[in-house]
């Protein structure tokens, strides 16, 4: 490959990667992929990509000027560099292509089937020693807050009768009864590679009629349910409403 072509494509890919990260940040779909704690890191990455794109572009310009002034210098790739460098470009284009061409989708209940449901310990040691503090009133707690509360309460029945008001996606777990489904969320510590699924049982007469994967808003009274011998919060639903995918589909512990 001609050196100038390499520089041109390199510069375009770097610009594309910077633009991709910026698009993700401004469209909000960045949170389909990573924990919001890393927003600054991605923003920094986007800036560095754009700076490097500019540097590669300037290098191309220098090469072109030298080329015009001194025609006897032909910069072609020599030896084993050429094959490898083409592959560099091809692979670096993969995230760009997948990122721009495949519609952004957060993990859903099919991923839950593969990853399994996590029902235990989700807290840092510090939280363990200081005891769980549920700052949020019961009707503002997320699925994660409820699972934490149940994990660290010596007797979870103290929460019985409190009102739960939360959102999540529907997952029909085969271990549940006919009139139940799980309202699930993924918790993401860093990026989706480490996502773990958590969920609470929802009990309602027409539970079976809710399509898997649809996002719902559930309100009801909390009881202590049971999944494979583990205590897990159960909501006796007073109302279930279908909602759109929220802008932040994951919970960030």
């Amino acid at each position: 490959m001609k050196a100038q072509t390499y520089r041109l494509i390199q510069s375009a890919i770097l610009m594309g990667l910077g633009a991709y990260l910026l698009v993700k940040i401004f469209s909000g779909t960045l949170y389909y992929y990573i924990n919001q704690r890393f927003l600054w890191l991605v923003a920094l990455g986007a800036m560095v990509f754009l700076v490097l794109a500019f540097v590669a572009w300037r290098r191309l310009r220098t090469m072109q000027q030298n080329h015009q002034h001194a025609h006897h210098i032909h910069e072609y790739d020599h030896g084993h560099g050429s094959g490898a460098s083409q592959w560099n470009l091809i692979f670096l284009a993969v995230p760009l292509l997948l990122g721009f061409l495949v519609p952004a989708k957060p993990l859903d209940s099919s991923a839950l089937e593969l990853r399994g449901l996590t029902t235990n310990a989700l807290l840092g040691a510090r939280a363990q020693t200081s005891g769980v503090q549920l700052e949020a009133p019961s009707d503002q707690r997320t699925v994660l807050d409820w699972i934490r509360a149940f994990n660290f309460a010596s007797d979870p029945s103290i929460y019985e009768g409190e009102t739960a008001d939360l959102i999540g996606f529907v997952y029909h777990d085969p271990r549940l009864l006919e009139n139940q489904f799980l309202v699930g969320r993924f918790a993401v510590s860093c990026c989706v590679a480490d996502a773990f699924a958590i969920g609470m049982i929802v009990e309602n007469l027409d539970a079976a009629s809710w399509a898997g994967n649809s996002w719902v808003h559930v309100v009801g009274k909390v009881q202590v349910g049971d999944l494979d011998g583990q205590p897990i919060p159960l909501i006796v639903a007073a109302s279930i409403k279908e909602i759109a995918i929220p802008p932040q589909p994951y919970l960030f512990p």
């Binding site: 490959m1 001609k2 050196a3 100038q4 390499y6 520089r7 041109l8 375009a12 770097l14 992929y33 990573i34 890393f38 890191l41 991605v42 990455g45 560095v48 990509f49 700076v51 490097l52 540097v55 590669a56 300037r58 290098r59 310009r61 090469m63 030298n66 910069e75 072609y76 790739d77 030896g79 560099g81 490898a84 592959w87 560099n88 692979f91 670096l92 993969v94 995230p95 997948l98 721009f100 061409l101 519609p103 989708k105 957060p106 993990l107 099919s110 991923a111 089937e113 593969l114 399994g116 310990a121 807290l123 840092g124 040691a125 510090r126 510590s189 860093c190 990026c191 590679a193 480490d194």
Partner: protein, 337 residues
């Protein structure tokens, strides 16, 4: 003339890309769906890439700056000559260069070319993804001031130093490395396009940025292959299969080490991830995840293979594997931490 052509070419490509995106997006919206596993795969792949790419960028930037601003003599002067002290210093160098396991690879190669001894370089490579302020802070945030934190630091440093010392029998770093960095990547290679004798600061900065850009392409390729493999495995392989194997002092350790390799999570955050397994898994196995993962995983192994000879990589994986396994099983059997 060429400038106009370049511009037109880029514009054409950009237009084509936009058209393609629009048509594919509308196609997807009108009910055409690929298998959900495919979307899971793409989401996980992009997740790993978006999170790891900035770290790799920082590593290549550091490497570029080392190339331009730190000379051979400085490395020789500051690193102790004694192999043990050298390895120990190498293991602690993460406090100077806070990098994770992606960024450390290009930086280590650069330091080798600047004359760092094999023992120190290998110890730096293996220890710095844990022994740096960022990772220590995140481990502290997850586990508090306790035995997991101390064991993680202690084990990582000792295993890195011991492995480094094994490589000390090799006097020349060149013996460990693959053929010297290509003089010619895309025509210009690791040195700037044409010799520019000026050493003005702005030009040195520009040259180090050029090096960073080239190295990002060279290393990024392996980061991408590694992320593709890790994402594919996660999208098709039920995790329960692995976790079902995992109890008992030995098997739990093997499972957590396998999981660390498979998940390929950045060392800056793996402490939070491991929290999900506290309670179901033995303390020794949690520790093995936290010590082995930063040294060896799918993407870092591919990066290693790009820089080191195969035989070197084999020992860089085998020795930490055996030591982590032994230490973690010993902890499971003898200590309650």
């Amino acid at each position: 003339m060429t400038r106009a052509l370049n511009f037109l070419g880029l514009l054409g490509l950009a237009l084509l890309a936009v058209l393609l995106i629009l048509s594919l997006q509308s196609w997807a919206a009108t009910g055409f769906t690929l298998p959900t596993e495919f979307y899971t795969f793409v989401t996980i792949f992009l997740g790993i890439f978006i999170e790891a790419a900035p770290f790799l960028l920082l590593g290549t930037l550091a490497s570029g700056f080392v190339e331009e601003f730190i000379d051979h003599e400085a490395v020789q002067r500051f690193m102790p000559r004694n192999p043990f002290m050298g390895a120990l210093a190498g293991g602690m160098l993460g406090f100077v260069f806070p990098v994770c396991e992606c960024g450390v690879v290009p930086l280590t190669r650069r330091l080798f070319h600047k004359g760092m001894a094999p023992a120190a370089g290998i110890a730096f490579l293996l220890a710095s993804p844990v022994l740096n302020p960022i990772v220590i802070t995140s481990t502290y945030a997850a586990y508090g001031w306790g035995s997991i934190l101390f064991w993680r630091i202690g084990l990582s440093l000792s295993i890195a130093v011991i492995t480094g010392l094994v490589f000390a029998v090799q006097q020349q770093p060149a013996e460990l490395l693959r053929a010297a960095p290509r003089k010619s990547i895309g025509g210009a290679g690791l040195r700037p396009a044409l010799a520019r004798p000026s050493n003005a600061l702005i030009q040195r900065i520009q040259r180090s940025l050029e090096i960073a850009g080239d190295e990002f392409f060279e290393m990024g390729r392996y980061l991408i292959i590694g992320s593709l493999i890790a994402a594919l495995l996660q999208a098709v392989l039920p995790q329960s299969m692995l976790l079902a194997l995992g109890s008992g002092p030995l098997y739990s350790v093997l499972v957590m080490m396998a999981l660390a390799v498979l998940l390929s999570i950045c060392s800056t955050v793996d402490a939070f991830v491991s929290l999900a397994f506290v309670g179901t898994f033995t303390s020794g196995s949690i520790l093995s995840f936290l010590v082995f993962g930063p040294m060896v995983d799918i993407k870092s192994t591919l990066l290693y293979l790009q820089v080191f000879k195969r035989r070197t990589v084999f020992y860089m994986i085998l020795l930490p594997f055996l030591m982590v396994l032994l230490a973690s099983v010993f902890i499971n059997l003898n200590l309650a931490i």
